[in-house]
Symmetry: C2
Subunit: 124 residues, 2 copies
DNA sequence: TCCATATTTCGATATTCTTTGAAATATGGA
DNA sequence: TCCATATTTCAAAGAATATCGAAATATGGA
C-alpha cells in the first residue's frame, strides 16, 4: 500500500466522531447500516454524518449501496486489513524480533489458522 | 486502550511527514536516532522536525533520551502494539470469522519477509 | 568563561478540517 | 402528479494544524 493511501486511511480514522462511525459499522458487519440509523444511533446531524461518511468512503474504508430510500454503508474489511498490514510492516520492518510479541496482542490471530476457525477459544 | 488515546495516535501517524519520521525510527530500532540525524535524513528544518517529534511524543508513540548534546528518539513499540491491538479489536470485534484472513496479511507473524518496506512495489 | 553545536520554543501566517443551516436530489407511495 | 422520507450538496464560519524565521535553552569543549 502506498503511504499516501495509508495516510488517507489513518486520517479518516483519526477523529473521534468518525472512529465512532467506523466502529459502529464494524459491529454491524457485512450487512452494514443505513445512514439514517447511524445518525440516530450516534446522535449526529444527517448532513454532518454525510460528511463523515464521505471521508471514510474516500479513504476506501467503507462502501455504500442503495436500498430503496436508504443508503447502506458497510466496512470494506479488505481495506482495513491492508491498513493493518501496512502498519504491521512498518512496525516489524526488518526486525521481526521486536515485533514477535505482537502476535500475542492480536486476539483475532489466536486460534484462527489461515482458513478454518477450528473453534474460538473464549478468551479475550 | 481508550478511544481518545487511539485517536491521538492515529492522528500522529496521519500525516506524511510524521509517518516518515515514525518509519525511519522503526527502522532505527530500539537504539533510536538523534533529532539532527532525522532532520538531515528527511531533509526537514530542525524546528519543523521538533514539532513533528512533539506530536509523536505526545501521542506516546516515541520516547526521547538525551545523549550529550543530542536528543535521541526511539519508537515505543509497546504503544504501537497497543494501537495495532485496538484496531484489530475493532476490526474483529465479536466477528473473528471476518478477520480470520488477517493473519495472512501480517508478515511478521510468520516467516520473515526478506525486504524492508521502504520500497514501493506495485499493488499487492 | 566563551563559543559552537544541538535542539526547542515562540509568534505569526497559511492551510486544512469540521460543522452547520439551507437548499437540492432521489425514491417510494397515495 | 404530489408528498413525505432519506440523504447529499453547497457555502460559510470557526477551529485546529503545519511550517517558518527568529530567539532561547542546554551541553561539551577550549
Amino acid at each position: 500500500m502506498e503511504t499516501t493511501t495509508a495516510v488517507k486511511r489513518l486520517s479518516a480514522l483519526a477523529q473521534e466522531a468518525r472512529l465512532d462511525v467506523f466502529r459502529l459499522l464494524v459491529k454491524a458487519g457485512p450487512e452494514g447500516r443505513a445512514a439514517g440509523e447511524i445518525a440516530r444511533a450516534l446522535d449526529v446531524a444527517p448532513n454532518t454524518l454525510s460528511a463523515q461518511l464521505l471521508v471514510l468512503s474516500n479513504a476506501g474504508l467503507i462502501g455504500a449501496r442503495r436500498d430503496g430510500r436508504s443508503i447502506i454503508y458497510s466496512v470494506r474489511f479488505d481495506a482495513m486489513r491492508e491498513l493493518l498490514g501496512f502498519l504491521t510492516q512498518d512496525c516489524c520492518g526488518g526486525r521481526p524480533e521486536i515485533c514477535a510479541p505482537l502476535a500475542a496482542a492480536k486476539s483475532c490471530n489466536r486460534g484462527v489458522p489461515d482458513e478454518a476457525p477450528a473453534r474460538a477459544r473464549g478468551r479475550r
